[in-house]
Amino acid sequence: MEMTGGQILMQTLVDEDVETIFGFPGGAVIEIYDELVKTDIQHVLVRHEQGAVHAADGYARASGKVGVCLVTSGPGATNTVTGIASANSDSIPIVVITGQVPTQLIGNDAFQEVDIVGITRPCTKHNYLVNDVNDLAGVMREAFYLARTGRPGPVLVDIPKNVVSAKTIYKPVSQVRLKSYNPTYSPNMKQLKKVANLVREARRPVIFAGGGIILSDASRELTAFAHKNHIPVTASLMGLGGFPGTDPLWLGMIGMHGTYRANMSASYCDLMIGIGVRFDDRVTGKTDAFAEQAKIVHIDIDPTSIRKNIAVSIPIVGDCKKALTRLNELLTDEDSDAMLKQKEEWLSRIDEWKSTNPLAYDQKDVIKPQYVVEKLYELTKGKAIITTEVGQNQMWAAQYYHFDRPNNFITSGGLGCMGFGLPAAIGAQMAHPDRMVVDIAGDGSIQMNIQEMATAVQYKLPVKVVILNNRFLGMVRQWQELFYGKRYASTCMDCAPDFVKLAEAYGAAGLRAEKPADVEAVLAEGMAIPGPVIMDFTVEAEEGVYPMVPAGAPITEMLLV
């Protein structure tokens, strides 16, 4: 059948089961929008294209599907770059469709022309400029396929306006065949057997889990593996929820703001099993001192992650879920008791670490941000989807909301992108209309994409924004306090809007708590309101996130409260 590029594009989206698109229109995509309204796909009109990408990211993480956004050429396209870079760092499957000027104008510095394929080459998993309508169906198939397979990531498809209107006979492309792309899913059995032997011999093992556990849906396998072999588990920021945060074997997060016991365990273990991680510098601190006494096993689907930052004894390329399933077969329950005995000393040492320096704060007359997060955890019974902004708010969310399940913690980990939380919450809420979705925010970050409140109101998305308002760019202030002689250069945010009034101006509800005694009531009231709410908590201005490992120091060198 003869179809236009726009119609083919819609057909490919329908074939990929796309139900929701986040986007913002413009001249180069006007015809795509004209086709989009004729489909059943719901379009969420954001207020800034960066918001569209973060929303698609949040949607992807909450739903497990590929997130999709659609923006116009030029400024629409450049506005997506930060969102794409964030999704790229965190390996989140999204497809970004950008309009482009007509092919005959490309290269002429036409109105609203930018080389978005060139701009995003280093921050996408792959990208395409579609020059010919006959390539469109195939490219779209590849884009979705690349986004979700192997190590997932963002794929951008740039479509010139004349390709949208051009007509051709539509031939559905059922199978993607890329001779050069063939991710390794099945881990090497020989290597896994070596791991099983190491697990049997180890006296002080630790599992270090990352975002790969969540992306490969391996948390059940991970939990079984840890339980059966009595191995304590820590995780990177991206791995939170991959192992239950209330489990006795849970050590807490590792790294710069990791718990004392996680960092000590990682440093004194004799076996570290890293799964779905990339040994980021925020995790390892000084690499030479990281897990110095341990044999390190590294399982990851991306070969470039392995041996990039640290030397490992056993590298294994493969899917985390597959690897853990195999390991669970190799290590039988018969081994379990003997293994527990062998590890008793280690586990009791970890218990000591747990009691010497637990996460703590002192709630006196000013609201402590940690207290707000703890209360939120209690009131939501740990069942909310939490997104975060970036900075202290993000770290307190990670430390004090004990994630028991995967896909409930949505944060910009690798890029650390302020302004992520609110649009990501919108995306997550689109995926789960009936769940409680909360953005834990700082007063600085929330202003970076505050305009998305209008989106939440328009689509009746009852996202809750919890602002831990310290009137500072808190995390930067904390560094200045500790390492730059308390010179608070440009981190004071005294001139901020009244967030309660701002919420109301957007047509949402606004609430404020200024005293510790009000925290619970405000949270409860906010959660009970059926629409979007901003809750502004006036918290201790100069509270710090602890423990803290100074950048580049060994992770045993923690500044404690």
Binding site: V117, R121, L129, K179, S180, Y181, P303, T304, R307
Partner: protein, 162 residues
């Protein structure tokens, strides 16, 4: 750790932007490219890139893995060892004063290269061979005065097993 020279050869999709992906990976990660050579293979849809870089062992491992990760890189091989044939070609424009012409021609003869252009004051010499051979020739010609030089950078092929 010691930096060593590596000759990487790869088959890539012959499409716009592919070279830029390969090169961008080097510039974006702070690796240096010493030479680069690209042309289509027998299959017009596939090009061969030969690239010479200097790196220590962990870096070259990372570079190779990153290159393999590019969707348009079909196959990659490190051809630094003896199992491969390496050649490079150069055009050298050398000053050819009457008194040095005989000497130049003798050198050309010894190196089995060719004079491909003759002017009143210059020769253009075409030479191919190992990088060492080219360097040796260039060193010998230097005293006469080299005006311009164009080198292709190395190309290499794995020796087929007999």
């Amino acid at each position: 750790m010691n930096e060593e020279k590596h000759i990487l050869t790869m088959l890539v999709d012959n499409q716009p932007g592919v070279l830029s992906r390969v090169v961008g990976l080097f510039s974006g990660r702070g690796y240096n490219i010493e030479s680069l050579c690209v042309a289509p293979t027998i299959d017009p849809l596939v090009s061969r890139i030969t690239l010479v870089t200097k790196a220590n062992l962990p870096s070259i491992e990372q570079i190779e893995k990153q290159l393999r990760k590019l969707v348009n890189v079909i196959k990659l091989r490190d051809l630094s060892g003896k199992e491969a044939v390496h050649r490079e070609m150069a055009l050298i424009c050398v000053m050819a004063k009457p008194e040095s012409r005989a000497e130049i021609l003798r050198i050309v003869d010894i190196f089995r290269c060719k004079v491909v252009d003759i002017g009143r004051e210059h020769y253009i010499i075409e030479v191919s061979g190992s990088t060492d051979k080219l360097n040796a020739l260039i060193n010998l010609l230097k005293p006469m005065g080299i005006k311009k030089i164009a080198r292709t950078g190395a190309v290499a092929l794995f020796r087929e097993p007999n």
